[in-house]
Every structure is written in C-alpha cells, then in structure tokens.
C-alpha cells in the first residue's frame, strides 16, 4: 500500500498563495477558512537572519491523535495512501480532533463537521495531482508515494536536507520541507 506524502522545497516557495486559492476553489472552502496556508518564519540574530517561506496543511501523520481521539470513527485513515480523512456523516462536531492536532490543521466547517486537507484524494484516485501541487508556479511542491524508493518524493528526500514541522510532537508527519 502506498504512503502518500509531500515534499516542499522551501528554497523555491515564494509564498504566492496560489496553492491556497487552488485549494479553496477545488474544495469549495467557505470564506474565512483555510485547509492550507502560508507560513513565513524568520529566525536568527541580526544581521544573520534566516527566513523560510513554506506552504502548510494537514501533515497526514503516521501517528494520528486526531483519529484515535475520535469517538465515532468519523476521523479515519483512508484505505488508499494512509490519507487522514473525516467522514462528514459520522462527525458529531465534538472538536476533540481539532484540539488533538498539534499543528492546528483542522477547523469546524460552518456546516458543523470537522474539516481539513484531504490531499485532494478525489483527484489523486483519478491519477491527478492535488490541486495545490498542480498549480504551484515555482514547482516547489511534490506529491507521491514515500514508501516507493523510486518515487520523486523519495529521491528528493534522499538527495536533499529536509525537516518536518514539530517533530517533538511525535506524530510522524508525512510532509517534508527541503532546506
């Protein structure tokens, strides 16, 4: 079974928000809500300050507190690619998963259910790329099977330095940032 993940090149990302707009359009995200977003991080001592721009979303972690805390099984791991999804018909809107995510990647949709990035699984299952990856003008986003050593994402992780967000939170995220 594949394990889907993303590799994002922070040296190419310019924070243009095209991925954000593509996601909102593709997935009909209500106004004021975001499944993906841009983070700009500046760190260091003046004048040697390092800046990283990156696009963030649900990390589709391998250890999933959002799934284990769900009282109804609405929050689940999809059969294909280990993608973390929410079954809207099972969700009672208790918000436990929103609280359980150390990345704060979830929100409560105005219709009442918990919502988040799906890796555009409806597109991926048709052989397409997620909408955000598809539109990126700098080609900084790569999507694929992390368990396949010959996939583009695996090769990038072998050849470049990378980090994940909040590794100490222990959720084994599947989105990697090239540095």
């Amino acid at each position: 079974m594949p394990r889907y993940g993303m590799v994002i090149d922070t040296l190419k990302c310019v924070g243009c928000s095209d991925c954000v707009i593509a996601c909102k359009t593709e997935n009909n995200i209500p106004e004021g809500y975001n499944r993906d977003w841009i983070v700009t991080e500046a760190r260091g001592k003046f004048p040697t300050i390092n800046m990283e721009i990156r696009t963030e979303r649900c990390n589709h972690c391998s250890e999933t507190p959002c799934v284990s805390c769900c009282p109804t099984g609405a929050s689940h791991i999809h059969d294909v690619g280990g993608v973390v999804l929410v079954d809207h018909e099972k969700c009672i809107g208790c918000k436990a998963c929103v609280e359980a995510c150390p990345y704060d990647a979830r929100y409560i949709h105005p219709d009442g259910y918990a919502d988040k990035c799906t890796f555009c699984i409806h597109r991926v299952e048709k052989g397409l790329k997620p909408a955000c990856v598809e539109v990126c003008p700098t080609y900084c986003m790569h999507f694929g099977d992390l368990d396949d050593p010959n996939s583009e994402v695996s090769k990038l992780l072998q050849s470049r330095k990378w980090h994940v967000n909040l590794p100490d939170a222990g959720t084994k995220p599947n989105i990697f940032y090239l540095v």
Binding site: S17, V20, G32, Y33, N34, W37, I38, V39, T40, E41, A42, R43, G44, K45, F46, I49, N50, E52, E56, P65, S68, C69, C70, P71, T72, G73, A74, E89, K90, C91, I92, G93, C94, K95, A96, V98, E99, A100, C101, P102, D104, R106, Y107, I108, D111, G112, Y113, H163, V164, N165, L166, P167, D168, A169, G170
Partner: protein
Amino acid sequence: MNELLELTTTRNNPHVDPFMAMWEWQIPVYLFLGGLVAGMMIISGYFIFSGRHKESNCACFSIPFISLVFLSLGMFALFLDLAHKPYVWRLYTTFQIKSPMSWGAWILILVYPALIANIMMKPSLWMLRLYPKLSLWSGKVNQHPFFIKIIGISNMILGMMLGAYTGVLLSSMGSRPLWNTSLLWVLFLVSGLSAAAAFVHLFAKNKAESELLAKADNGFLVVELFVFVMIFLGFLSSARPHIEAAQLLLTGPYAPTFWVFVIGLGIVIPLIIQLLAVNHKIRHTAIAPIMVIVGGLVLRFIIVSAGQYSHWFNAHFH
C-alpha cells in the same frame, strides 16, 4: 542581542487562530458537573456500602436525584457544544477503544441506571405520588441486602470512572502540553470529591455525616494541593513546551486567577476555615463549602482555557 523567532501565518481559521479556543464555557461546565456528580456518587456509594443507609436521614437518599439532575444539565451543556448536533446518535453506534470521549459516552449510559437504582432505595414522596408503583419496586430492592451492597459498590466504581475520565479526556491530548500530564485525572477526581463533599455537607441532615464530610473535604483539599505540586514538579522538570505550559498558570497570564481563585479562595482559605470548624473553634457555615465549589468550577475553566492556549513551539529550524 536576543535571538529572533517570528512566525507569520496567513491562516485565520475561526476559534483556531491566533490561539486555540474551540472549547468554550460548555466544556468546563460539563467537566465540573461531571466531577461533582462523580464525587457525590462515590460519597453516596460509600455511605450505602458502610451501612449508613440504615439511618433514615442518610444523605445517600437525597444525593442520587440531585446527581441525576446535575449530570443531565452537564450532558446538555456538552450537547450544546456539539457543532453537528443532528448526528449525536453516532456516539452510540460504535465503541472506539482509543477514544476517551467514546469511553465517556458509554460510562454516562451506565451511570444513569446506577443513580436510578440508588433512588429506588427510598424514592421521594413526590415520586411516589406521581408513580405509586415505585413503592413496590423499592420494596423489592430493599428485600435483598445483597442488592443494596451492589448499588453501593456500583455507585462508587462508576463515580470513579466518571471522575477519572473527565481528566483523561484532556490528558490524552499530547498536542496541548498543559493537559498532557497523567496526573490530570487524579486532580479532577480529587477536586470532584472535594466539591461533592462540600456540596453534600451543605444539605446533609445527619449531623454525624455532615461532620464526617467536612473532615473528608479537608483531606481532599490537602491531597489536591499535593497533586498540584506534583503536576508542576513534573512540568517544570520536563521539556520547554511543558515548562512554558506550567508558567502560564504559575507566573503567566492565568496566574492571578489561578493563585487567587483556585489556590487561595478555592483551597487554602476554605481549608483553614474548615479546619477551625471541625476542631470546634468556630461554627460551620456555608462560606467554606461555597468557596470550594466555586474553586472547583474555576479550576475547570482555567485548565480548559490555559490548556488550549499552551502549545508546541517550532523546534525544527536548525
């Protein structure tokens, strides 16, 4: 010059940014009422188990109905919190073994029969007027001392499960460092017992019980202080997110409320008043119990609110 760390995000999801505020008043109110009912069930169960129910004015006859009302109010607050209310029945079509909330949903279902069985031991007059057949049932229950023992034990066990689960619900969230201590259920259980002892002391008609509850409450308050010390020792000797989480209560934005309402007015001062009262230096008044009860409520509010505020920091940038 200090090292700079600045994060700017374009995300602004309601109740998630700039910091998590998903759970509002409904959750602490439920946790408080759940803890209070848990404490009252343990007290009532203990009174029954130890044979105090043989005295006609035993508090174990008035506790279960009050518990039933309070628990229902708490569950209603929980229902109000749900964002997808028409789907609430989904809780009872499955059991998710890793989810404390699923455990809680099923524990609550078991708590009601235990409370009702306790009520059946001696239904109130108004209940008998409404349903005269209750006296038949009540007679059957009281025929068997074995039944009575079972009612006492089941109330104690389910009370403990209810009180503990309210803490585990939060402590299972590794994402919020302030909640992520395995002592949280002990704190909530002891605080629930303390609030329950204070509350039952207020309306207990039996003098011996009233005195016993005041003494027990003093014990619970001392244990609660001790648990707080243990929790903070654990946090302060842990990693930075946990140290920062503890500082939110000890010295940070939540410190004034924590020290004044939870520790000062909620534990230390009522403890001093009640110690004087049980040693017959002053008379028992409603002041100390009310302070304890309010302190328990403020504790739930501060833990839910500060817990959501506590977070992991970005430690990945090497």
